[in-house]
Amino acid sequence: MSGEVLLEIRGLTARVGEKEILKGLDLTVRAGEVHAIMGPNGSGKSTLAGVLAGRDAFEVTGGSVRYDGQDLLALPPEARAARGVFLGFQYPVEIPGVGNLYFLRTALNALRRARGEEELDAMDFLSLAKEKMKLVELDPAFGSRSVNEGFSGGEKKRNEIFQMAVLEPRLAILDEIDSGLDIDALRVVSKGVNALRRADRAVLLVTHYQRLLDHITPDAVHVMAAGRIVRSGGRELAKELEQTGYAWAAEKPPLGLSPPQHLHGQRARP
């Protein structure tokens, strides 16, 4: 059972410099759903994630993105965050000199201010942070360290999930959150994502590998190639990809493959 349409992407095209990366991408995500975006390197997965979060480096040249009934592309990144969009970075940024919890509290209170909610004081924030750190099994010592500075790859990813758990987004876009994780970290990160799942929220998992989907069961799986979604299916599609790889996707033109709206019977256009 799925809820209202939360994210609707139509004919999205975008480029980096002179290079066209997204070449007409369509995707519909409803509240309550987890979608996995898979595909070979260079297919445009991370560009899609960056465009949705509002990264300047990507220039949108056409198409539309509606989020919760609004034109998402018209908003600066912080306004998207205030409306519940969260991007988990493939390469979380190190910010020496800025305390992890200090930063997170600044961010949370910025979101709360933008939503007209009261700011959280230091004590209330600390107890919230402690609870969420427990969820992602992050050592409390990481709270006072500088944001991501000197963190291992796995610790950085846990920290992203920790931030997500505190900020409680409605649409979480996780860009290769599984890359570089050992099995233990993968379990913890998955636990954090599963804990976020709720009927009014959605998750977009960008991943190269199917193993993440052993821990987080998606409602839909999409394969990207050359800037478009070339195939969509249920969770079994991920298993199939594990056998076949992505070579077929790179070789075949996207046209002629089953377009996403035909799958699942739940993507009728309005």
Binding site: P77, V93, G97, V98, R105, A107, L108, L111, A114, Q163
Partner: protein
């Protein structure tokens, strides 16, 4: 020899030569000789290698005067409030003149001497005379000459062997006088005996709407195993000229820390000259420059390794906006025989505008063959990926920028070791950054 250019500034300074009555003969003679050196040299010009990128032309054109002790001064109450209400010993000087009424010379261990320099010359001349002018020799440059000839007063700290002063000793200098460009030449002389330990903060503040010159000279003599942490918070007024030099001599196993926050003044130049005469010494030099508008802020250092197994660590940063300019010059000389020297210097610069510039020149002169020396430097802008990261979490662009700017400075703010001084440093730096005060509220 090129003819000395007589400028209104140098002429007016020479004319202001008026040594206090009743000084001992050796000092009167030294002052006269120093006046001669200053008149012969004139203010430094960009023809001198060390001043190539720092023009004193705007200062040279001014007529300077030395306010009388009873002259009207800046709003002391407000400025001292800004310096912070901290316990512990404190000396206050206004335009270089000692203010015993605002001074507190308590909290020192037995045997330690903390006095105004003028009083020390009278009361303990045998402790002053061997060291005054020794490291900052009047012949060494025009400004040390001017200081020797013209100094009004200063602070004198003598610690016998093993003496430890726990609370930071604060020396507050207030500058500026209505109706003219005041000049002040305050001095600091610290003699730390074997194994002695102290922290000294010089805090410079002044009028914002009136140009003035403050040209402090500090001499610090560290005995074997002594540890001296010397902080300078320079938040002089926006029209001020601040030309400081610090001269240090380190005996074996001593630790010296010099840390300058150069936040104010139209033109700020901070020189540190250190010489490590004994083995196993440690010299840490750091400084942060914040400048905007057409301001210039420079940090220069010359460290001489004259003995084996000493280490030097230099960390300098600048954050520049508008048409501001930062100068970094770091010379490390490893003399013959100074084996196992370890020396590293870094200069990192953050440019917030297209028109800000940095002149940086690391210089290693090595005359020993078993040493580890290096330098590194960066000049860059705010990182776009970091900005996006912060904005994607909900911070608006201005907040994200100010957080990253503060983060760049944070290493040198947190390098202030005593907690009460560190809290002041945080507030002073944050107050000068866009949206900065809000940064601290959430902390």
């Amino acid at each position: 020899m090129s003819p000395t250019s007589v400028t209104p500034a140098s002429e007016s300074l020479a004319a202001a030569f008026a040594p206090p009555h009743g000084e001992p003969g050796w000092l009167a003679e030294a002052r006269l000789a120093a006046l001669g050196s200053f008149q012969a040299a004139g203010l430094p010009t960009t023809r001198l290698e060390d001043w190539r990128t720092t023009s004193l032309a705007p200062l040279s054109a001014l007529t300077l005067f030395r306010p009388r002790p009873d002259a009207e001064g800046p709003d002391l109450k407000a400025l001292l409030e800004r310096a912070g209400r901290l316990d512990g010993p404190r000396l206050v000087f206004v335009n270089g003149r000692y203010r015993p009424d605002l001074t507190r010379l308590t909290g020192l261990p037995a045997g330690a001497t903390l006095l105004a320099l003028g009083d020390a010359i009278r009361e303990v001349p045998d402790r002053v005379r061997p060291h005054l002018f020794r490291l900052a020799h009047p012949e060494a440059g025009a400004l040390t000459a001017a200081s020797a000839a013209l100094f009004e007063d200063g602070a004198f700290l003598h610690l016998p062997g093993g003496a430890a002063v726990a609370p930071p000793i604060r020396i507050i200098h207030v500058g500026g006088a209505p109706g003219g460009v005041a000049a002040a030449f305050p001095r600091l002389l610290v003699v730390a005996g074997e194994g002695a330990l102290c922290t000294v903060l010089e805090h410079y503040l002044g009028m914002d709407d009136q140009a003035y010159l403050v040209a402090p000279v500090a001499e610090l003599v560290l005995g074997a195993g002594a540890r001296v942490d010397h902080y300078r918070f320079q938040e002089d007024g926006a029209a001020a000229f601040h030309l400081a030099s610090v001269h240090v001599e380190q005996a074996a196993g001593s630790h010296f820390l010099s840390h300058a926050l150069s936040l104010g003044a139209r033109l700020s130049r901070s020189e540190v000259h250190a010489r490590m005469n004994g083995e196993d010494g440690e010299c840490r030099l750091s400084g942060l420059s914040l400048a905007d508008g057409h301001r210039l802020s420079g940090h220069l250092s010359v460290v001489e390794h004259a003995a084996p197994r000493c280490t030097t660590q230099e960390t300098f940063k600048a954050i520049l906006d508008g048409h501001a300019r930062a100068v970094f010059s770091g010379r490390i000389r490893v003399l013959p025989g100074a084996q196992k020297t370890q020396a590293y210097q870094s200069s990192s610069n953050l440019l917030l505008s297209d028109d800000a510039t940095v002149n940086t020149s690391p210089q290693l002169e090595i005359f020993a063959d078993d040493v580890k020396c290096g330098h590194g430097g960066t000049v860059g802008r705010l990182d776009e990926t970091s900005l996006f990261y912060l904005r994607s979490r909900g911070l608006d662009e201005a907040a994200a920028r100010s957080l990253l700017i503060y983060a760049f400075a944070a290493e040198l703010v947190e390098a202030v070791r005593p907690e009460p001084l560190r809290a002041r440093a945080r507030a002073l730096v944050a107050a000068r950054l866009p949206g900065g005060v809000r940064l601290l509220e959430a902390a």
